[in-house]
């Protein structure tokens, strides 16, 4: 019997369909022509044409973080592939599952400095979880299967599959493998039962415990288990930036975000805890501050799927390698069996102490009479919270003000660049979130610096009627860097004053809606108009140039050394 033969391009698309992929982001080019031809001839997968390859990867990441499914991006060889590096590094840092397909020059030309050739497997090695160069069409389906498996299991991350043009054209039958066999890759999902027991006992006996909830709780969809355990054990919860929404901010036991710009009470609770229960966090320097001073007197229980995260920065006394949801469920089961009575009196004493710290918050800043960014953001939050839109952000002051002033009661509602801190991430990521949300509006909180890093994506938004409401906190400066210059570099505002185009007419030239807001009473009408508009919007909020992000722990300082206002020195 003759088997049906397919081209490599067809095999790739069929494999994507098998993986449940319906939407991809990409940009065509010479060596991916066979793939784009195959795309043209099918209806299973919708391709979104972006305006820059970096945006394709960020959009795929936005999609992945909104849905939990691997995002997919397709680009051509050489420059196309090189433009994806920032996107890959961002996804690698924040543990986002995605598969990037890069075209490659003809396999017979590799190494010969062909037109648009780049050693993309070599270049991306340190910024993705794994990568492949497909050398035989027979391996293609297996490699795609492995790529999705690696991307979306263990500590999730991006996987690159580099496919030469002749492989796209070569013919082979299509057999999608059912299973993946990788001798060197067996993520550990179940936590060690003895460690789990030890962790529970330690938490039972603790007097001043605190839970740090990180991005791993989002990745593992473990927010329900986290809430149940925290409530049952009567333990306060702080979260990292990546852990926003994993524990409802509305709850009394939620102390909010910790770290460099975290809440005073969150940082104080962690600093004074006797037991820190860290869940799905890698203890980045942005949350630990000075490692020497971090949690001096605390025992650290640390759950993470990635063994490398454990005892890398903060030594764990009870390490538990495993999937957060799996481990927390096991802990809940053990708890149900246990006869231990929680000493609520002791814990109430701890909560009383914390409630004193809760009273200390950042001091409201006087400003020039221009809009306060914090007022703008709290108004946006209050006005839109009933719709529970996904919020994406760029990177800088606006990002921190957003994290501080929006309340996130569900995971996957804040999509922001955590580890890499990528300016230009938010806008394209919001497009991915739009695809995931299917018509609902998405808000991108941006700065006047960041928005200009991927502003070209306005056209993509017009093409596909993405309802992205870009709220630009326009203060005329690269505000976060300016803030550091003010405090640490004697107000030498070196290269941080930044000019912008007229965002209103810019938006209009793309066919988008542009609105300028200069007064408080204009904020809500602008938002109303933006939400009603069927397409992308730029709202240019002209804000005070010198507003600062507080609380603020200076880099390298202990996290309980919190500055709450400019006057504090």
């Amino acid at each position: 019997m003759n088997k049906i033969m397919y081209s490599g391009a067809e095999i790739l698309l069929k494999s994507l369909v098998k993986e449940g992929v319906k939407e991809i982001f990409g940009y065509p080019g010479g060596v991916v022509l066979p793939l784009y031809d195959a795309l043209y001839l099918q209806n299973d997968i919708k391709h979104y044409l972006v305006r820059h390859e970096q945006a394709a990867v960020h959009a795929a990441e936005g999609y992945a973080r909104a849905t939990g499914c691997a995002g997919v991006a397709v680009v051509t060889s050489g420059p196309g592939a090189c433009n994806t590096i920032t996107g890959l590094a961002n996804a690698y840092y924040d543990g986002t599952p995605l598969v990037l397909i890069t075209g490659q020059v003809n396999s017979k030309l590799i190494g010969g400095d062909a037109f648009q050739e780049a050693d993309i497997v070599g270049i991306t090695r340190s910024c993705c979880k794994h990568n492949y160069l497909v050398k035989d069409v027979k391996d293609l389906a297996r490699i795609i299967k492995e790529a999705f498996y690696i991307a979306s299991t263990g500590k999730k991350g991006p996987v690159v599959v580099d496919i030469p043009v002749d492989i796209f054209n070569a013919k082979y039958e299509f057999n999608y493998p059912k299973n993946v066999k990788l001798a060197g890759y067996n993520p550990n999902y179940k936590g060690h039962p003895l460690q789990i027991q030890k962790a529970l006992n330690t938490l039972f006996e603790s007097k001043r415990p605190v839970i740090i909830s990180g991005g791993g709780v989002v990745a593992s969809n473990a927010h329900k288990e986290l809430k149940e355990l925290a409530v049952k054990l009567h333990i306060p919860v702080v979260h990292t930036l990546m852990g926003s929404g994993t524990y409802p901010d509305d709850l009394e036991t939620s102390l909010g975000m910790m770290g460099m710009h975290g809440k005073y009470c969150a940082n104080l609770a962690v600093s004074n805890a006797d037991v820190i229960f860290a869940i799905g966090t890698r203890f980045s320097d942005r949350i630990t501050g000075s490692l020497k001073h971090f949690a001096r007197d605390a025992q650290v229980i640390h759950i993470d799927i990635d063994p490398c995260s454990i005892s890398k920065n903060v030594k764990a006394s009870i390490p538990i390698v495993g999937d957060v949801k799996n481990v927390l469920s096991a802990m809940l089961q053990e708890l149900a069996k246990s006869h231990h009575k929680i000493n609520t009196e002791l814990k109430d004493k701890w909560f009383a102490e914390i409630s004193q710290w809760k009273k200390k918050t950042a001091v409201i800043q006087k400003n020039s009479g221009k809009l306060s960014a914090i007022t703008v953001l709290t108004t946006i939050y209050e006005y839109t919270k009933k719709d529970e839109p996904i919020i994406t952000t760029e990177v800088g002051q606006h990002q921190m003000w957003c994290a501080q002033n929006f309340k996130f009661n569900k995971p996957r509602k804040l999509i922001t660049s955590g580890g890499l801190g990528t300016m230009g991430f938010g806008f394209p990521a919001s497009m991915g979130a739009c695809v995931a949300e299917k018509g609902k509006y998405v808000i991108n909180i941006a700065g006047d610096g960041s928005i200009q890093m991927n502003i070209q994506e306005l056209m993509t938004c017009i093409d596909y009627k993405f309802k992205v409401i870009n709220c630009i906190i326009n203060n005329g400066y690269l505000g976060m860097v300016r803030q550091w210059q003010e405090k640490i570099y004697n107000k030498h505002y070196s290269q941080t004053k930044i000019s912008s185009p007229d965002f209103v007419t810019l938006a209009e030239s793309y066919g988008a809606l542009g609105i300028r807001v200069q007064k408080e009473e204009q904020i809500i009408p602008a938002l109303k108009q933006a939400i009603e508009f069927d397409g992308p919007v730029l709202i240019d909020f002209i804000c005070d140039s010198f507003e600062m992000v507080y609380p603020w722990v200076l880099a390298g300082e202990p996290i309980d050394k919190v500055l709450l206002s400019r006057e504090e020195g």
Binding site: V121, S126, A183, G184, N186, P307, S311, V321
Partner: protein, 171 residues
């Protein structure tokens, strides 16, 4: 305390696997003292032996990071237990008529082997531990070393236990 460790890594024998390992070391600022790589008994695997320096926490991170690489199957820090370690030095030494007898005596005493003799130059092989190679090199240095080539270290545990650092269950 920073001490040398020998880490034995079993990997799938595929293109680029050595680059992944080397990139990991350079990218994260770890040091490679020596590195050897060759196919394992079964050709689908390769064995990479790396000598590196660091305190216990660093070595633990190195082992974990190596394990994180997809083609890495097993990582063993074999300097912890008892192991047989071996390396080879090939040395070209200039020898004159006046010191030939003395030189040959050192060769015999050190258990080195003459591999090639030509006009005024002896090529000798010394093998053993890193210290053996080092000591011999110092001994013959006085005659004038023309060229010196040294393998990295290979090592194997003495008993039948292989790994003290498995891929999974790193609790």
């Amino acid at each position: 305390m920073t001490v040398n460790h020998t880490i034995s890594v079993l990997v799938t024998n595929e293109v680029g696997v050595l680059s992944r390992i080397v990139d990991l070391f350079s990218g994260r600022g770890y040091n490679i003292e020596s590195l050897t790589a060759a196919p394992a008994l079964d050709n689908i695997y390769s064995r990479v032996t790396i000598v590196t320096a660091g305190d216990d926490d660093v070595i633990e991170q190195i082992c974990k990071q190596l394990n994180r690489l997809i083609p890495v199957i097993k990582v063993a820090n074999i300097s912890v237990g008892e192991a047989i370690e071996y390396e080879i030095g090939l040395i070209k030494v200039a020898v004159s008529d006046t010191n030939r007898a003395e030189f040959l005596n050192i060769i015999a005493q050190a258990n080195a082997k003459i591999m090639d003799v030509s006009d005024k130059v002896y090529t000798v092989k010394i093998d053993g531990t890193q210290k053996d190679v080092q000591t011999f090199t110092e001994l013959v240095r006085q005659y004038g070393i023309k060229e010196f080539v040294r393998s990295g270290k290979i090592a194997i545990t003495k008993n039948n236990q292989f790994s003290n650092f498995k891929k999974t269950n790193q609790n």
